[in-house]
Symmetry: C2
Subunit: 262 residues, 2 copies
């Protein structure tokens, strides 16, 4: 399903205002909590700007370092074409608000339709169909992103009712709420759009320091099966691994972030 | 064990030649194959330069985009202090040879001894003791890195004798061959110092596009237990996950790279 004016496309649009300079407006519709913009959304804005700087349309891998929290409002992206190769092009974006850099993202773009050897050694999460799953009933306060993204859990998350399950793993469905079909750009947002797995061990929240997402294939339309897990909380820092599988049962994105418990 | 003049420390040294400008010499002692410098070694050189630019000594997370192969010889690192925070500082290095950029690395540094919440949900690989394991007998041609790093496998890798096992997973021991004790900097090198797991599915080799390493704790001296695995080869691209556990059985580094089959 194609949506003519999707929230995602409107809110991640960037406007060229000079060579490698783009203007963006960080919307308040993708907040992770009161007044704080979601990191996956800022990543997608960075990728929009980098895409305008490179000859390929598809992000293949992106690494972002989160320097300061982003606030809804005006932003600027300065981009650089780092290396233009025959098969892969690499660019960088500095996302700034009021002359202060908030995210630095480096991304390599390619053509995801170029064919090559394929071999799979893993399976998508085993989930009941979305219509047998339950939506998120109590998103974190101020998390407007939960109005833009639909979640379907096999059973209600323990953290939602104040009873974390004790294991920092989760599997669930996600899609953009307005029906916009997924693509590699929106997958980049979705790798950081769900409640962190550490909520199930009693964490109140978590701030991303670094996130790397690999966009591995063009997704088919429909619900996305997701798997989130943390295995190591060490001195207040934890990784979160995130996988997204499309409606055809193929892995389409995998991400890992290093974050700090708040 | 401390080694006064370890190969690693000598070969990753950088010399300041100006503000945020460093001179390095890429040694031919860490080649991945004939004339091509190992990516983990270049990552460590970048981290040495970034460390000189930031107020913290310990790399916590680093993302590197590999733009062109590195050759033994003169190199220059240009660094930038991106953000100096109270607890975390972020910097960037551009590693160049002859005015051509070969690696761009962005790293956040911190104090790895700062204490905080710790919870572990995974176990180190189950390996026989190193003295019951076998060394690598036939490293890839020209791979001088195999003279700098000791490997001990529970059983000889299948790819070594031309009989790949069909599963892109491996667990083995590693350490620097001259006995230098591991630290977060040398762990960064070691996350990309072993034969790629895809050799066990018949791949001839693989070139890193992006590598992110999280250095999670200061390692104890001794052998390091390592786990390498690939789960998704898609259109010629594959991820490789790499974990390093210290002699005390604690996870000390985890890395993922996106690479292309060669």
């Amino acid at each position: 399903m194609t949506v003519a004016h999707s929230d995602f496309d409107i809110d991640t649009a960037v406007e060229a205002v000079g060579d490698n300079h783009f203007r963006a407006v960080l919307s308040d519709r993708w907040n992770a909590r009161h007044g704080v913009v979601n990191g996956g959304y800022m990543l997608a804005v960075c990728l929009r700007a980098i895409a305008r700087t490179l000859p390929f349309a598809d992000p293949l891998t992106v690494s972002a370092h989160y320097l300061r929290p982003g606030s809804p409002g005006e932003a600027a992206a300065e981009t650089e074409a780092v290396r233009l190769g025959r098969r892969i092009a690499t660019g960088q974006a500095r996302l700034c608000q009021g002359d202060v850099e908030i995210v630095r993202a480096t991304a390599s773009f390619a053509d995801l339709d170029a064919e090559g050897e394929t071999a799979r050694f893993d399976e998508p999460p085993a989930l009941p169909p979305p219509e047998e799953c339950v939506p998120l009933e109590a998103p974190p306060p101020g998390a407007t992103i939960a109005e833009r993204v639909d979640y379907r859990y096999p059973t209600p998350p323990g953290w939602q009712s104040g009873h974390p399950r004790g294991q920092p793993h989760a599997a669930f469905w996600m899609r953009l709420a307005d029906g916009r079909a997924p693509d590699p750009l929106s997958l980049a947002l979705l790798t950081d759009a769900a409640a962190p797995a550490v909520l199930e061990i009693g964490a109140r929240g978590s701030s991303t320091i670094e996130l790397t997402a690999h966009l591995r294939a063009r997704p088919e339309p429909g619900w996305l099966a997701c798997r989130a897990s943390t295995r190591h909380v060490i001195n207040g820092y934890h990784e979160e691994d995130f996988e997204i599988w499309d409606s055809g049962g193929r892995l389409v994105a995998q991400a890992r972030q290093l974050a700090r418990l708040s």
